[in-house]
């Protein structure tokens, strides 16, 4: 199963605008993506990455590591590459799309 880990770059964490932009990017793909917060190297309970509410519930702050995974083996790798790149930027500094 394709998966990636990435550190949250947004200054405000994965909340508010960054969470909305990220959820929108996930929803633009037909594949299911789940995300969990990594604590002490262990991934916690995953939530739907396309849900803003789900993302807010993660409580992922700036500098926290998260893990993304998708059951889609065909296009999952490229989708995760794109999403990881997104989380690696300060989304709060970018205009809402």
């Amino acid at each position: 199963m394709p998966q990636r880990r990435v550190t949250i770059a947004s200054r405000v964490g994965l909340h508010a605008r960054p969470a909305a932009l990220f959820a929108k990017a996930v929803a633009a793909h037909p594949v299911s993506v789940r995300i969990s917060k990594v604590t002490d190297g262990v991934a916690g309970e995953p939530v739907e990455a396309a849900s803003v509410l789900g993302l807010m519930g993660l409580g992922a702050e700036h500098g926290d590591e998260v893990e993304l995974h998708t059951p889609d083996v065909e296009t999952g790798e490229s989708v995760l590459d794109e999403l990881v790149e997104l989380l690696g930027r300060d989304l709060d500094a970018e205009p809402a799309g």
């Binding site: 964490g13 909340h15 508010a16 605008r17 909305a20 939530v47 849900s51 803003v52 509410l53 789900g54 807010m56 519930g57 993660l58 409580g59 702050e61 809402a96």
Partner: protein
């Protein structure tokens, strides 16, 4: 002053308002009466400023307007149930469950943990069903306090 996160007087089971501004104002008035907010206009302006950055309407009929404001004296939740629905900008339609989250200036980690804890409950069907079906404000205040402990 009671320092609980939410109390029965901060719950409105029949919030009938024309728009989200009126919904926020209605709940904010309860915060003023409870001594949790010192200045209604100041607080409402702070919430509106936050809403301008990003809509707080969530899928599933939920609105969670929130802000940190110097007009807030203690971290507080107010809840309004809107039978007619109020548009908070969610793509799937109006909100029937509205939580106004008020946090004092500076108390930032607590604010985020309340928001995260509330979000985790709001994705659960059992939680939203309980909020939709409760008949007493005190029932909701107790339930939310129990579920959303910072």
């Amino acid at each position: 002053m009671n320092n609980e996160l939410i109390t029965a007087d901060l719950v409105d089971l029949d919030l009938r308002v024309p728009d989200r501004h009126a919904a926020v104002r209605g709940l904010a008035e309860r915060l003023v009466t409870a001594g949790r907010v010192t200045d209604l206009e100041w607080f409402v302006a702070d919430v509106a400023e936050r809403e301008k950055q990003m809509a707080t309407g969530m899928r599933g009929g939920i609105g969670i307007p929130h802000c940190r404001s110097a007009a807030v004296t203690a971290p507080t939740l107010a809840f309004g149930r809107c039978p007619e629905g109020v548009d908070f900008g969610a793509e799937d339609g109006p909100a029937r469950l509205v939580f106004l989250i008020a946090a004092p200036e500076g108390g930032d980690s607590e604010h985020m943990s309340v928001l995260a804890a509330l979000a985790r409950r709001l994705v659960r069907a059992e939680f939203t069903r309980t909020l939709l079906e409760a008949t007493e404000p005190s029932e909701i205040a107790e339930y939310v306090r129990r579920e959303v402990s910072p």
